[in-house]
């Protein structure tokens, strides 16, 4: 296990503990960071940077790590109060990373995109914190490009599936400032994943129209993955500025190969709140 992996793991376990414990201990009160009302949307745009790790045995038996840059967009939408899933949570992300192996400097590039949409039920709503949970539609698609390879230079990996989204907002005051800690977790449960059938060349997939061999049913056991976000929202005029971290963990064992991509990033974002006008009124 590399040092960066160990740090990521410890950090993420701590963050999960924060998710569980902070809301209960915070002596919070409802402040300007609240969930959107009906027909209201809260949007958060972030720039993120950090580290990336990739290992894809279709391309190489070696592991690669390096830097990553990305953009992220989140929005919370308020539906009718009578609905069970009273909130919608849309998250999309685009990450580019450049990685090297530790031995000869062979390099790999990564482009990873994801779109998640959660239908959120308010399990807890209080002045101190809100906890939303619900089913989610998750889509992730990434490409790894190994610059040393000949006929297998790139591999795409991704899935479209159904899963779970958990979203926690913890409000508290610090030195008179109204702050909020935002935590989100997406976990896929089932769906369809893409991976070549062992050493199936992409040229064959295209030439012989053999896409069926490259599609696999995914479960948490052959495609364990999650996206975890933690952000501290700080007031800035009528809006909020956020600083936080996000961790994308995507791995699978499909088609006889194992793949893993991690993006562990620090994010800086800006929050805006929108009211959708009711034109029918």
């Amino acid at each position: 296990m590399t040092d960066s992996c160990r740090c990521s793991r410890v950090g993420s376990i701590l963050l999960l503990l924060l998710l569980a414990l902070l809301p209960l201990s915070a002596a919070g009160q409802r402040n300007s960071w609240s969930l959107p009302g009906y027909r209201e949307t809260v949007r958060l745009g972030s720039f993120k940077f950090g580290s990336a790790f990739a290992r894809d045995t279709y391309l190489s038996a070696s592991s690669y790590d390096g830097w990553a840059l990305g953009l992220e967009s989140d929005s919370w939408s308020g539906y009718k109060p009578s609905r069970l899933f009273r909130y919608g949570r849309l998250h999309s992300s685009l990450v580019f990373s450049s990685m090297k192996n530790s031995i000869n400097g062979g390099s790999t590039l990564e482009l990873m995109s994801s779109v998640h949409y959660g239908f959120m039920w308010p399990a807890v709503e209080s002045d101190a914190d809100d906890l939303l949970i619900g089913p989610a539609v998750l889509f992730e698609l990434g490409v790894l490009y190994n610059r040393q390879n000949g006929n297998n230079p790139a591999n795409a990996e991704g899935y479209l599936g159904a899963g779970l989204c958990v979203d926690n907002t913890c409000r508290f005051r610090l030195s008179g400032h109204e702050l909020a800690l935002l935590t989100t977790l997406y976990v896929p449960f089932a769906g369809m994943g893409f991976a070549p059938d062992y050493d199936q060349p992409y040229w064959y997939i295209y030439r012989y129209n053999e896409y069926g061999k490259a599609l696999h049913f995914i479960t948490p056991f052959n495609n364990p993955a999650f996206t975890f976000q933690l952000a501290l929202a700080v007031p800035m005029g009528k809006s909020r500025f956020t600083i936080g971290s996000s961790f994308d963990f995507m791995t699978n064992r499909l088609g006889g190969h194992s793949r893993r991509i991690d993006n562990n990033m620090i994010s800086v974002g800006f929050v805006r709140r929108f009211q959708v006008k009711d034109w029918n009124r």
Partner: protein, 353 residues
């Protein structure tokens, strides 16, 4: 507060259950590479990568007597953690050389390990100087590595040095139009080391007026030596443009025709108006893929075998219709035996079609 606490406990229970497979996988996937970056670790990594991904073990056992397990036993005694990286490289290259496969290479800072016995163990049957003499100075360039001229006896002569996307449909159409009155065409692919399979098929598609199955392919579908996909038919259809060549074609081949040039020979051999003349091609029927050792050396190996129209392997080459060797006396006299035989063949077809 109590309801809030209960809800939160329920959510955490669901979350924990959801993350159990993730955390199990995390532990497994976080392992460092399977083999250590030591002399023995790299040896085993190379042997295992080949064992699980190379596609010709059964064929090499049948034709060359190569037993991959025996190879491991034999070479492992030469491996010691005290040897220098260069010495280790030489041993690993020698081990790969047992397979006698031009698509098997080991890339390091010291050298590119290779076995070119498919070519070097045989007569070359090719002289570039002689070929250039036949091309003359006023040949036409119709793409990168594509040169042609019309010989004195009204026979077209096309040289294709490689299949690396060197020409276009428009250029080929222009060439065929300029040869419209020729009695036949000689295509010289001697010492053509290959390129893109689609480029070879693109050129071949100009010599047929019907869809032709020229061979089959399959790929490794698992780590076992016999884990393969089903066979997929390789077909060519007539070129989409207006121009196609249906007059006699003689394809000149030698042991230097490898990989895509080997596929091209198999493709042309399946066509009615084409005759292969020369030596058996060098082979190279496996589509190569690449992996890496723990020390960063890159290994290339054949992973997807190709077969001819009779589902026979073309890893060891495609046999010509007319077997011929270059005559040493001809070479001394500035005569290319292959080109002259091809001219005679085409001229005889004109008299006696």
């Amino acid at each position: 507060m109590r309801k809030s606490l209960l809800n939160r406990v329920c959510v955490l229970a669901v979350l924990s259950a959801a993350l159990i497979p993730v955390s199990c996988s995390w532990n497994e996937e976080n392992r460092d590479n399977e083999f250590a970056n030591t002399t023995k670790g790299n040896f085993m990594a190379l042997w295992t990568i080949m064992d699980e991904h190379y596609c010709y073990f059964d064929l090499k056992k049948e034709k060359l007597g190569v037993d991959w397990n025996e190879v491991k036993e034999r070479y492992s005694v030469s491996i010691s953690d005290k040897m220098t990286p260069r010495a280790q490289f030489e041993v690993l290259c020698k081990m790969l050389g047992e397979l006698r496969d031009g698509h098997v290479n080991l890339y390091s800072i010291y050298d590119v390990g290779r076995n070119w016995s498919w070519k070097t163990d045989y007569r070359t049957n090719f002289s570039k100087d002689l070929r250039d003499k036949y091309l003359g100075n006023d040949y036409v360039i119709c793409g990168s590595g594509y040169y042609y001229r019309i010989l004195d006896d009204n026979i077209g002569y096309l040289v294709v040095e490689g299949f690396d996307g060197g020409t276009t449909s428009g250029r080929l159409d222009a060439m065929f139009n300029s040869m419209a009155l020729c009695n036949g065409l000689i295509i010289d692919i001697r010492d053509n080391g290959g390129g893109n399979q689609s480029d070879g098929e693109f050129l071949a598609s100009h010599f047929t007026e019907r869809k032709v199955t020229w061979g089959y392919s399959r790929y490794k579908s698992g780590p076992g030596h016999n884990d393969f996909s089903k066979l997929y038919a390789n077909t060519i259809s007539p070129a989409s443009g207006d121009v196609r060549w249906i007059k006699p074609v003689v394809l000149l081949v030698n042991r230097g025709c490898y990989s895509t040039a080997n596929d091209f020979a198999a493709t042309m051999k399946a066509l009615d108006n084409v005759t292969l003349l020369g030596d058996t091609t060098g082979g190279g029927g496996g589509l190569p893929m690449t992996s890496e050792l723990p020390n960063g050396w890159v290994v290339r190996y054949s992973s997807a075998p190709t077969f001819d129209a009779d589902t026979c392997h073309i890893e060891f080459g495609v046999a010509p219709d007319i077997r011929l060797d270059m005559d040493d006396a001809d070479v001394l006299n500035g005569v290319d035996t292959y080109i002259e035989a091809a001219r005679d063949f085409i001229n005889a077809r004109i008299v006696n079609p």
